[in-house]
């Protein structure tokens, strides 16, 4: 019987090709998943940075107005407005009787 090396080559070649394709497919899927995970964590970082920036932008006008007020009236005036009535007992907080009742 002839050796039929062509059939032998076809069987081994087909097996090698299919196994190689499957191996490469696994590697490709792993790379895609890694890229996806890395992209997700990058976008999470970006959204966190954007949120922080927005929060600081929201705070900015209030800080600016306080600075403007300090410049107009002077630091003492501003402190006086914000200070509380001195306590009779020497406690830093006002006496319980003078405190307004809690509101719901």
């Amino acid at each position: 019987m002839p050796d039929n090396w062509g059939f032998v080559a076809a069987a081994y070649g087909l097996t090698a090709a299919v196994l190689l394709i499957y191996w490469r497919r696994l590697a490709k899927k792993e790379r895609e998943l890694e890229r996806l995970t890395a992209g997700r964590s990058r976008s999470a970082e970006r959204s966190r940075d954007r949120l922080t920036a927005e929060q600081s932008r929201e705070r900015l006008p209030a800080e600016q107005s306080r600075e403007r007020l300090t410049a107009e009236r002077g630091p003492e005036r501003l402190t006086a407005e914000r200070s509380r009535e001195p306590s009779r007992t020497g406690h830093p907080r006002p006496d319980p009787d003078s405190r307004p009742p809690l509101q719901q």
């Binding site: 019987m1 002839p2 050796d3 039929n4 090396w5 032998v8 069987a11 087909l14 097996t15 196994l19």
Partner: protein, 215 residues
């Protein structure tokens, strides 16, 4: 660990090739085309291993509802389908010069084709059901039922008058050929079982990562 398994599989496959072409003798009646056996038989036996692992993992899933067992069954099914498909293809390539036909509706060939189609259906079923829990449950049942075909495939050559030769390795009384044929066959079998373990380990890791990314 997985990488080491990959290198072991590559080394074992290389050793198997050397044994199949360098050590194994030229067969007297068939000539060198018989060397296809060193890839055909290990592929089919490794696919049996894959489907038995799939059935056991499916059983564990049905009892414990363990997602890890389902991932093992899924990975094992995928690699098993690839191996049995390659086993059919290499058998067909071997059949043409020896039997004079690419395919014949012989009991062994038919039963192994049914096995292939059932597990291909198993993979398709996974893809068609959106709910992962339901897909895992249905596939576990199908995986166990389909595994019942494995003994049918193996014993078909004894139960029916068939063109396919009886088993070479797993038969009563053991292997009866020479050691120069047995060792190349065993080394190739070991290589394909290690390759199966490597592919399954990698696929399970990928399935776990996909589940975590989707959550």
């Amino acid at each position: 660990m997985v990488k080491t398994l990959g290198w072991v599989a590559a080394a074992a496959l290389a050793a198997g090739l050397v044994m199949a072409f360098g050590v194994a003798p030229r067969e007297v009646t068939q000539g060198n085309v018989q060397r296809i056996m060193y890839v055909h038989v290990p592929l089919i036996l490794a696919s049996y291993v894959a489907f038995v692992v799939l059935a056991l993992a499916s059983l564990v899933y049905l009892i414990r509802r363990d997602a890890g067992a389902d991932r093992l069954a899924h990975a094992s099914g995928e690699v098993g389908v690839m191996f049995v498909g390659l086993g059919i293809a290499t058998g067909s390539i071997w059949g043409k010069p020896t039997w004079g036909a690419w395919w014949t509706w012989d009991a062994r060939l038919t039963s192994v084709a049914i096995l292939f189609v059932m597990y291909l259906g198993y993979l398709l079923l996974r893809g068609t059901i959106d709910d992962p829990e339901r897909a895992a449950r249905y596939c576990a049942v199908l995986g166990i039922v389909a595994a019942l075909d494995i003994p049918l495939v193996h014993f078909s050559v004894y139960w029916w008058r068939t063109l396919h030769q009886p088993p070479s390795l797993m038969k009563p009384g053991g292997f009866t050929g020479s050691a120069s044929i047995l060792w190349p066959l065993l080394i190739n079998l070991l290589a394909f079982v290690v390759l199966y373990a490597y592919f399954v380990a990698r696929r399970v890791r990928l399935l776990r990562a996909e589940a975590e990314a989707a959550a």
